[in-house]
């Protein structure tokens, strides 16, 4: 409570306005329709003439759904799709392509797949290729081993709901190795359809109670919108804690204390979510910080959820990834035998960036055995995670070994991908920091920068007139003028009026925020990225002039 970093939204400064309006007003011209690129869009009568009184209408629909927002797939992205379609139809624009930097999608941005991973999965898909001498022996052996673990020797068979047994074992071995020998039990590993599936499942498991006893879940602000969307849908209470932009988006336990104390008045805090390395903020937590967080979770009796999908994406010198599990076990039995922890990982990030395969896993630690049975039951409803994703995950956790033929290429490709990401992180930070009115913290890890914009008051007023959040206004304009698609920071939650600190207050920022930050992924290929950054710089200059 000592920290006074937060601002009360409606108290101060010339930039204040009633932002609750922003939430209720959807953007103009949003079409959820997806561009029919390769075929003619048919407009059937059945759907066109839709104005009868429907069974499912806004009054009868699950009201929780109305509160779900998913910024990385939100209005900006939908407008970007529409613009792409317009370009294809020959509409004149001041640019020729839309650059989508809204989501961490490495391959879409030109990153090349890792040969070994794709070879093995292709062999699994079409095992006749096992006879082909173009594939290295180690790739074939991996494929045979995976196929042997599949029903009927086919990746087309269902697997057990928590995943293929040998892959769970491989994941456990990988974690053991990563954490310097701390044991990991395959029965505590649940494979998932991307990390999102696992995160949502855990939140579901944790949510219960009514009124003041309703589950509260602590999430960082800024956060990845998956969390707020899932909590909204589950009608769980979001407890926001704020990362400190001035200290490179670091997490301060005093802030956690403030948030949990305030929340205990109106809900039952049960879980604490941490994203490390951070998304969208790119910070990497120190070992000390993790220890503090664990102690805090133990004191407050919170279930820890560690989103560690960027664990291989650490760039800054002096920064290192420490897994929550490792730190927990090194803190001794006082903590390691009691603190409940779930850690998430995915095939979508790191050096491989295989988002489309939807591979991921979670490891649960110290979970009540009865609850674990319920978790097992819960995951069985979705039958099983996609097998190609499971296979790919197996290769990520069990990569080629030094004595195997694919090793050299694998390491080369892996290193190249990570190096490029590091280079882009640095470049983004450097270029953006040369633009007056943009401030960017050093990117220590993950794949994003989350720069702060200082917007002229006139721009803020113009946004207000349009019923838009200022950063949404900014991003829409950026998109329309340059074809660059960034997600406004408001979608991630942020504290208001970044430079005007007052006493801290508990605010439900998700609903009331106005924003001054915007996010961009650092993924586009280096050359493309340069162009993008240059365009942003020019745009920002123009924008500032226009509204000054």
């Amino acid at each position: 409570m000592e920290t006074t970093r937060l601002t009360q939204l409606h108290l101060f400064h010339s930039n204040h306005y009633n932002v609750s309006v922003l939430v209720a007003s959807p953007l103009p011209n949003i079409s959820w329709a997806i561009s029919g690129t390769e075929c003619e869009l048919q407009k059937p009568n059945m759907t066109e003439n839709g104005l009868g009184n429907r069974v499912l209408n806004m009054d009868t629909m699950n009201p929780n759904v109305k509160r779900v927002e998913y910024a990385v797939r939100g209005p900006i992205v939908q407008r970007a799709l529409q613009i792409e379609k317009e370009l294809k139809e020959g509409v004149e624009k001041p640019f020729t392509e839309v650059i989508k930097a809204n989501i961490g999608d490495a391959h879409a941005m030109g990153q090349k797949p890792i040969t070994f991973l794709r070879q093995v999965v292709a062999l699994c898909a079409y095992p006749d290729l096992l006879e082909d001498d173009k594939f290295p022996e180690d790739a074939k052996n991996r494929a045979r081993r995976i196929l042997q673990a599949c029903g009927g020797g086919s990746i087309g068979a269902y697997s057990a709901s928590p995943g293929i047994e040998i892959i769970r074992q491989d994941v456990a071995k990988y974690i053991e190795k990563r954490d310097g020998g701390i044991p990991s039990n395959p029965d505590s590993i649940y494979l998932s359809t991307g990390a999102s599936d696992a995160i949502v499942t855990m939140l579901k498991l944790l949510t219960s109670g009514e009124g003041k006893n309703r589950t509260g879940v602590m999430i960082s602000i800024p956060q990845y919108p998956l969390y707020s969307a899932a909590l909204a849908e589950l009608a769980a209470v979001q407890i926001s804690y704020y990362l400190d932009e001035d200290k490179c988006w670091s997490l301060d336990v005093n802030e956690l204390r403030r948030a949990v104390k305030a929340a205990r008045e109106h809900c039952n805090p049960r879980a604490l979510c941490i994203i490390n390395p951070g998304n969208p903020t790119g910070q990497v937590q120190s070992r000390q910080c993790i220890e503090d967080v664990i102690r805090f979770a133990a004191e407050e009796h919170l279930f820890l959820m560690a989103d560690e999908v960027y664990q291989d994406n650490v760039y800054a010198e002096g920064c290192q990834f420490h897994s929550f599990k490792k730190v927990l076990f090194e803190m001794g039995p006082e903590y390691s035998s009691v603190v409940e922890l779930v850690s998430f990982h995915s095939t979508s990030k790191c050096f491989m960036g295989e988002c489309g395969f939807r591979g991921g896993y979670m490891e649960v630690v110290n979970m009540d055995p009865e609850v674990k049975l319920q978790l097992t039951k819960l995951v069985s409803v979705r039958l099983c995670p996609p097998i190609p994703g499971q296979a790919l995950l197996d290769l990520v956790v069990n990569p080629p070994q030094p004595d195997e033929p694919s090793y050299a290429t694998f390491i080369k490709e892996r290193t190249a991908n990570l190096d490029i990401l590091a280079e882009k992180a640095k470049m983004t930070e450097q270029v953006l920091n040369t633009v007056p009115g943009i401030h960017c913290n050093p990117v220590q890890g993950a794949m994003y920068t989350f720069p702060r914009l200082s917007l002229p008051e006139k721009a803020i007023n113009a946004a207000k007139e349009k019923g838009q959040a200022p950063d949404m206004f900014y991003c829409m304009k950026l998109l329309e003028e340059t074809g660059i698609c960034l997600v406004p920071g408001s979608g991630f939650g942020q504290r208001d009026g970044t430079y005007h600190f007052r006493k801290h207050h508990f605010l439900n920022l998700y609903h009331t925020l106005f924003l001054s930050l915007c996010r961009m992924t650092i993924l586009p290929a280096t050359e493309k990225l340069k162009v993008v950054l240059e365009k942003i710089r020019e745009f920002h200059k123009r924008f500032t002039e226009e509204f000054s």
Binding site: T47, T193, G194, E233, S380, L383
Partner: protein
């Protein structure tokens, strides 16, 4: 739910005990299906921590010898609809395209037919960055949405379908879940209810439970080959009044586990009923490709609805589900399914998009499977002959099993089986001796579950107990998947018959 769990868990334990002796035999016979997907079965597995250790790995290449003697060589599992797991082979064309998309170097290879390479190329160019490793739009890759909507139009004799109404998900079950999420909430005074057939496969009921919705049961008429009767729907709806607010009607056609296929007339009646009673229609049509019964034909709810003309065709809200997991492809593991939303309020469509986007996107390999289902090779394509031969042989297997299995079962005393018209399952009725029913009570199990457990222990055959799916009070059933190679099916029925006769003798 716990019921099947027990029997499936049992299947695995038995298999792992015997695995050392038979690990490489009966590749196509589910020698060790250590991965039952059926609901909750993992509970049983969790209780068996040692089971998992007997799986071979490069580090440990031998199976742990356990060697319990049993009067059979291997456990055959026909309790679950998992064609590949049961020994059906994947379609070459599908797997070739998939492999080429995953590893595009294969497009240069001389090992693949030209049409495969072309297909892979056009699919890759529809992926962002030319990679199946990229995220797609939340509804799916636009190109594939178009293919699917064209497929639907062709199937329905020209009834239009819009790509933007297609949402692809990680299997059709996920689509079901997401549509239910729009419909079900607990903020009204009464819980939402969904009319659900008895019998119905269990994970649907579990989904409703999970969402806090009420299952409003309507009974299918076994004597009429498991037909659906509107009078019964009306009774069920009436009975639910005051208990829940019934918002939707869930229909599975072709039926699971019943093998029934609805007539156009029946569908018309159901649609009228839904319109009168203001119910959202959910048509689970994942077995649409598997209709071979004489005189039966698959007609989609969408087609019938459209042909009924206005006002119904403009107003009845329908969600129709399909999947790449069933039919000839049987690609369950790729997790490709979709829903087509028809006549939804435009305001709701916006939220449908949001709710589907919380999954980010369906696995791309599953989306590719849907594309290949929607667009199989055509006459003249290099892959066409092999494709035709493969699908014909799967069809022959199914047609054979569909006719022969019910007939065989009907000749076993104490078992009766309705003729099968489509789908993947038969759901024969067991007439169990009173003494056996009493005995089951003593051990605290449902009689058919106990029967299944003994069938598994004594004959090495795993089938689903009727209590898992729901059945009329006092009747008992089992479910068997007939999407199973004929040779395996023969072995299953041989063992079942022997077991059953012994069982009758024991309790008579």
């Amino acid at each position: 739910m716990e019921n099947l769990i027990a029997s499936s868990g049992e299947a695995k334990r038995l298999n792992s005990r015997m695995a050392n002796r038979h690990s490489h035999r009966h590749q196509n016979r589910v020698a060790v299906r250590a991965h039952h997907v059926q609901t909750g079965m993992w509970l049983a597995q969790a209780l068996e921590p040692n089971r998992s250790r007997s799986v071979p790995s490069p580090h440990n290449n031998s199976w742990e010898p356990q060697g319990v003697r049993k009067p059979y060589m291997d456990v055959i599992d026909v309790s679950w609809g998992d064609p590949h797991g049961g020994g059906v082979k994947p379609l070459t064309f599908v797997r070739q395209v998939l492999a080429a998309c995953i590893y595009p170097e294969l497009v240069e290879s001389d090992k693949l037919p030209v049409d495969v390479k072309q297909r892979a190329q056009s699919l890759l160019s529809a992926c962002d960055g030319g990679s199946v490793g990229s995220y797609t739009l939340s509804g799916g890759i636009s190109y594939i949405q178009c293919s699917v909507s064209n497929f639907i139009s062709r199937r329905d004799g020209g009834v239009p379908s819009s790509p933007e109404n297609i949402f692809m998900t990680s299997g059709s079950q996920r689509s079901l879940m997401l549509v239910l999420k729009l419909l079900v909430h607990n903020q009204a005074s009464l819980p939402a209810g969904v009319l659900t057939a008895v019998p119905t496969y269990s994970s649907f009921k579990m989904m409703l439970q999970r969402l806090g919705a009420a299952v409003v049961p309507y009974y299918l008429d076994e004597e009429q080959g498991w037909a659906m009767e509107v009078e019964e729907l009306r009774r069920a709806l009436q009975a639910s009044k005051g208990v829940c607010n019934t918002v939707a009607l869930y229909v599975i056609n072709p039926g699971n586990p019943t093998g029934h296929v609805q007539s156009r007339k029946c569908i018309e009646k159901v649609i009228r009923f839904a319109a009168e009673e203001r119910l959202f229609l959910m048509a689970d049509e994942v077995y649409q490709e598997s209709v071979f019964g004489e005189g039966s034909e698959f007609v989609s709810y969408k087609k019938v609805l459209s042909e009924m003309g206005p006002p119904l065709s403009h107003t009845v809200e329908l969600a129709s589900f399909h999947s790449a997991s069933k039919g000839f492809m049987g690609e369950c593991g790729l997790r490709g399914g979709y829903v087509e939303l028809v006549n939804l309020d435009p305001a709701i469509m916006k939220y449908a998009y949001t709710i589907f986007s919380t999954d980010i996107c369906a696995p791309v390999t599953g989306q590719l499977a849907l594309e290949l289902m929607a667009n199989p090779p055509r006459p003249g394509d290099p892959s066409y002959p092999v494709y035709t031969q493969e699908t014909q042989s799967i069809r022959a297997m199914l047609v054979h099993n569909m006719n022969w299995v019910p007939e065989f079962l009907n000749n076993i005393p104490g078992i009766s089986c309705q003729p099968m018209m489509g789908g993947a399952f038969v759901f024969p009725r067991l007439y169990l001796p009173q003494a056996a029913i009493e005995k089951a009570k003593v051990v605290g199990m449902q009689p058919d579950l106990w029967y299944c457990k003994r069938l598994l222990e004594e004959a090495g055959v795993c089938v689903g107990p009727g209590c898992e799916y729901g059945q009329k009070e006092g009747t008992h059933h089992i479910r068997l998947c007939v999407m199973t190679p004929v040779e395996t099916m023969e072995e299953v029925l041989k063992r079942l018959k022997n077991f059953h006769l012994h069982f009758l003798k024991e309790f008579s």
